[in-house]
Symmetry: C2
Subunit: 331 residues, 2 copies
Amino acid sequence: MTAYDLCFLGFGTVGKALAGLLASRRTELRERYDVEYRITGVASRRLGWIARASGVDLSAPAGRLCHDVNDWLDRARPHVVFEMIPLDPHTGQPALDYLRAALEHGAHAISANKGPLVHGYRELSRLADACGKRYLFESAVMDGAPVFSLARHCLPLAGLRAARGVFTSTATVVLEAVEEGLSIDEGIARAQQLGIAEADPGYDVDGWDTAVKLCAVANVLFGAALVPADVRREGIRSLDAAHVRAARRDGRPYRLIGRIAPDGDTVTARVAPERVEPGDPLGVVHGTTLVMHYQADVFPGGLTVVSHDPDPTTTAYGLFADFVSAIGALA
Amino acid sequence: MTAYDLCFLGFGTVGKALAGLLASRRTELRERYDVEYRITGVASRRLGWIARASGVDLSAPAGRLCHDVNDWLDRARPHVVFEMIPLDPHTGQPALDYLRAALEHGAHAISANKGPLVHGYRELSRLADACGKRYLFESAVMDGAPVFSLARHCLPLAGLRAARGVFTSTATVVLEAVEEGLSIDEGIARAQQLGIAEADPGYDVDGWDTAVKLCAVANVLFGAALVPADVRREGIRSLDAAHVRAARRDGRPYRLIGRIAPDGDTVTARVAPERVEPGDPLGVVHGTTLVMHYQADVFPGGLTVVSHDPDPTTTAYGLFADFVSAIGALA
């Protein structure tokens, strides 16, 4: 039996879902993987930096209140840090500094955050290698459905050439609202009611969310070195509502589609509203469904992965699966 | 650099595609994984048991002609045996004996064959464990698209509950022919022209192929112990052609669908023609496309994997990916 001390950095919707998921899998972790765990730290803007080496009860977090991330890591001494704080897409901070600190303190750094992934993927991966730890980030794109683990474990040397998909559920929800006769702003209000829109919904509808995710995929899976400003970006605000409705009636609805395409030795990325033809692999997208379609040498017609109506547990599951992978429990 | 000696057991369409794939990936195997390989044996009904420790040129196979599998393994001394001989769904033989022999001779046993998987999964897995080797079989279901590696590496403790999919492309091709106005027999002829039908096409259209694949998935991913006779099975021959055409016109076409569903502590499997509703995750299936849709605790609306128009290289890729996994080259 191996026992792991875990720290939660961020304790919002996803953090709470992860706590629930870990608790629901406690017996299976023990029986299938010979693994025990204990939570030794939790931190959020509301809670501050809480550490207790003997274990924190996440239903009523209490313990020593530390003064910063390093103090917290010194006290909590985690084997694994789960990072899921709010995104700053422009710099990846402060998550980037926190993940660096986690690795330097000897913990695996598992992050749901696409900011540090886009701004620090190579640095954090090198640092993790140097520390003999892992930096993993399955939940940063497609909310916990397999993207990075799929490529790493299931598609070695598959000859990936291109990818496209729907990565921002808010955009789909807004477009569907417009298809029903509502305005863009009413669609945004609906996405906010569903709890899926980012704090700044413009971030989703203007294509920034997709652009950041495309950079993550392009840099990790396609060896590119893109930043969001490199992505040709067109959002859905400029679409004419009558055109959106006509496209739906026509069976070729608009969706906000991100594409990674070959360009010499590397790839380019762009995001724009496109009409989806009947029978297209992306044609399954409605509601909050996310989809990624890969083109690869060994899949002549492509390989598609679809996650239908993910919820916070799905995102938490990406972190959970990264944990199982990081500790080497997988066969 | 680690050098691996490989043997091919079966050298038809898939074997030739695997030889081409390995050759095309030789540089990347060296540069990315520090791996070299050499073919030291090839066997088929036509060639006999050919072994040459110094290397066999697969474009003109020659070497010592051995008298049986054990003699062949003794001479070729492979680290890995790729098994892809014709299927006997009723017993899994002789592939089952060959895979046992490969493991006992200290080789990883990598098989595209669903016969031994259904009839010998537990025995071969135990034997592989005892020998410190791997028995892997990604290509046995869905032609090399990730099924077993996906579950093993990407979905630990995901709480898989059920699965359904289209696993037999011949059935789809035949149904589409009927939708166009042809007869079932004309549809079968078309599938044979495409080279996708089994030697006995009844095996596909009567649901046996799907039934065998469902047993493989149920036994490996859902802990069941099903044999094909346990699967409730209905093929597509009994469908009325007018109904098939009307269903297509109606936008709810018939497809031959395999289902694994919970039943107390284990699962049951059945295969039958079903009408696919618009928007259903299986609705993308046309031509030779294969699809698997999983229900799991952590994917509220399910997770779908679609392989569009796979070809023999796709099947070969499943064996190739198993090879990379078996030798521990994956991160």
